[in-house]
């Protein structure tokens, strides 16, 4: 943008001082949030949405939510966990609203394994399995299998009771077991009662 030339009191003159382009940029609040958290939030959105443009949009939506919920974010025990949870929920909602083709992805993984012997990456498999389970179980499954939170940590992060978290995890694993029995015979799933 061109610099302004002031005509104050009828006297013309250029603004003294450095030009905007030469001024070093201080780290502001948003830049600090970006540096600390945007890579993780963007990665979460790309993982769930599998579309770079949609992930960019979703990431910006998440940070707008964060800026508007300033005190809530500041009060969070972990801003990282708070932002990733918001990102996860936001993307899952978008996928559900768009009636995501979960089934197609699951079938692709099964075909790759059957025809080419490619074992699916654990995170890819979890993502494909999300479509088999109900809404809240999807979020709990991401926090458990992708973020590696224990059930107690998930309970603290989500405000759900530990029995509820365990129940949702059981729902996810039951749905996953049914889906895997057909497409991935031989894959063993953990016993939910023995999960940390």
């Amino acid at each position: 943008m061109a610099r302004l030339t002031l005509l104050a009191g009828g006297r013309a003159g250029a603004i003294p001082g450095p030009s905007p382009r030469s001024e070093p940029r201080p780290a502001g609040l948003l830049e600090d949030l970006y540096r600390r958290h945007a890579p993780g939030v963007l990665a979460r959105c790309r993982y769930l949405l599998r579309d770079d443009d949609a992930a960019r949009d979703a990431t910006q939506d998440v940070f707008v939510r964060a800026l508007r919920a300033g005190p809530e974010l500041q009060a969070a025990a972990s801003p990282t966990a708070w932002l990733l949870q918001v990102a996860t929920r936001h993307c899952l909602n978008r996928l559900r609203a768009a009636r995501a083709a979960w089934r197609g992805e699951f079938e692709r993984l099964a075909r790759d394994r059957r025809e080419r012997g490619i074992e699916p990456d654990a995170r890819e498999l979890v993502r494909a399995l999300l479509g088999t389970s109900p809404g809240e179980a999807q979020e709990i499954a991401v926090l458990y299998f992708v973020d590696d939170l224990t059930q107690a940590e998930i309970a603290e992060a989500t405000g759900r009771s530990l029995p509820t978290v365990r129940k949702r995890l059981r729902e996810f694993l039951a749905a996953a077991r049914a889906a895997l029995a057909e497409a991935f015979p031989g894959i063993a799933l953990p016993d939910p009662e023995e999960l940390p």
Partner: protein
């Protein structure tokens, strides 16, 4: 055999993310760093986090990110109303979140509000460019239609600032970030209707832009103060009929 993953005895992707974000301290930080040094699984996760940073820099650099966030904030600040500052607010705000430029001020307009102190020297100036002419807007001067505006801030020693425009369409944030003396980056055109008010908030703590929007929306300029010790400078804006 394929496994779905999940937390290990001491392995946690979230813990490594928190370490990366500077959220761990003391014994917890030392424990995680010690574990990371000897754990192949966590080292792979740490390498994934490094790749995420590189991908973010490539796919969503800060400037694009800030512009997108600013555009959304401007759009959602008054969701049921016609957008104003249409042409320049997103870029101005995005830039404003990052930096200000140091230049001397020409004039000041200040008004004490809501019991906040207005220390000597704190103020804001509006510059108007219409055609080839650029001038500082004097108190009571109307803003010509289609004029490009820029705002300069005198923070009087305060460390953080926010500038908002409040008019019939509601509040909109023009800048929130470190308080630096001079003209804020980005010109803008005021495209709404009716008169308005520019509100400068100076504080020694970061000014929460979203909370400021809420306060202005609910209580007007008199509710701009974020808390004890803040300074609020108010400059009325009038329009010149086309």
């Amino acid at each position: 055999m394929t496994s779905l993953g999940g937390p290990g005895v001491a392995c946690s992707a979230m813990r490594l993310r928190r370490l990366d974000a500077g959220e761990l301290a003391g014994d917890e930080r030392a424990r995680v760093e010690e574990h990371l040094a000897g754990c192949a699984r966590c080292q792979r996760t740490a390498a994934d986090l490094a790749r995420e940073r590189a991908e973010a820099a490539r796919l969503l650099p800060f400037e694009a990110f800030a512009a997108g966030v600013a555009e959304r904030l401007a759009r959602t600040g008054a969701p049921a109303r016609r957008p104003r500052w249409r042409r320049a607010v997103p870029l101005a705000l995005a830039a404003g979140l990052a930096a200000a430029v140091a230049v001397p001020l020409v004039s000041r307009i200040a008004e004490d509000r809501g019991g906040d102190r207005v220390k000597g020297g704190a103020g804001l100036t509006v510059y108007v460019r219409a055609g080839d002419q650029v001038r500082a807007l004097a108190p009571g001067d109307p803003v010509p239609p289609g004029a490009a505006l820029r705002v300069a801030v005198e923070p009087a020693g305060r460390s953080h600032a926010a500038v908002a425009l409040l008019d019939a369409d509601g509040p909109a944030i023009l800048y929130a970030g470190p308080a630096r003396r001079g003209i804020l980056p980005g010109a803008f055109e005021w495209t709404g209707e009716g008169d308005g008010t520019l509100v400068l908030v100076l504080w020694d703590r970061p000014v929460d832009a979203a909370a400021l929007v809420r306060r202005l929306g609910q209580g007007g300029a008199g509710a701009a103060s974020p808390g004890r010790g803040a300074e609020v400078v108010v400059a009325p804006l009038k329009r010149r009929s086309p």
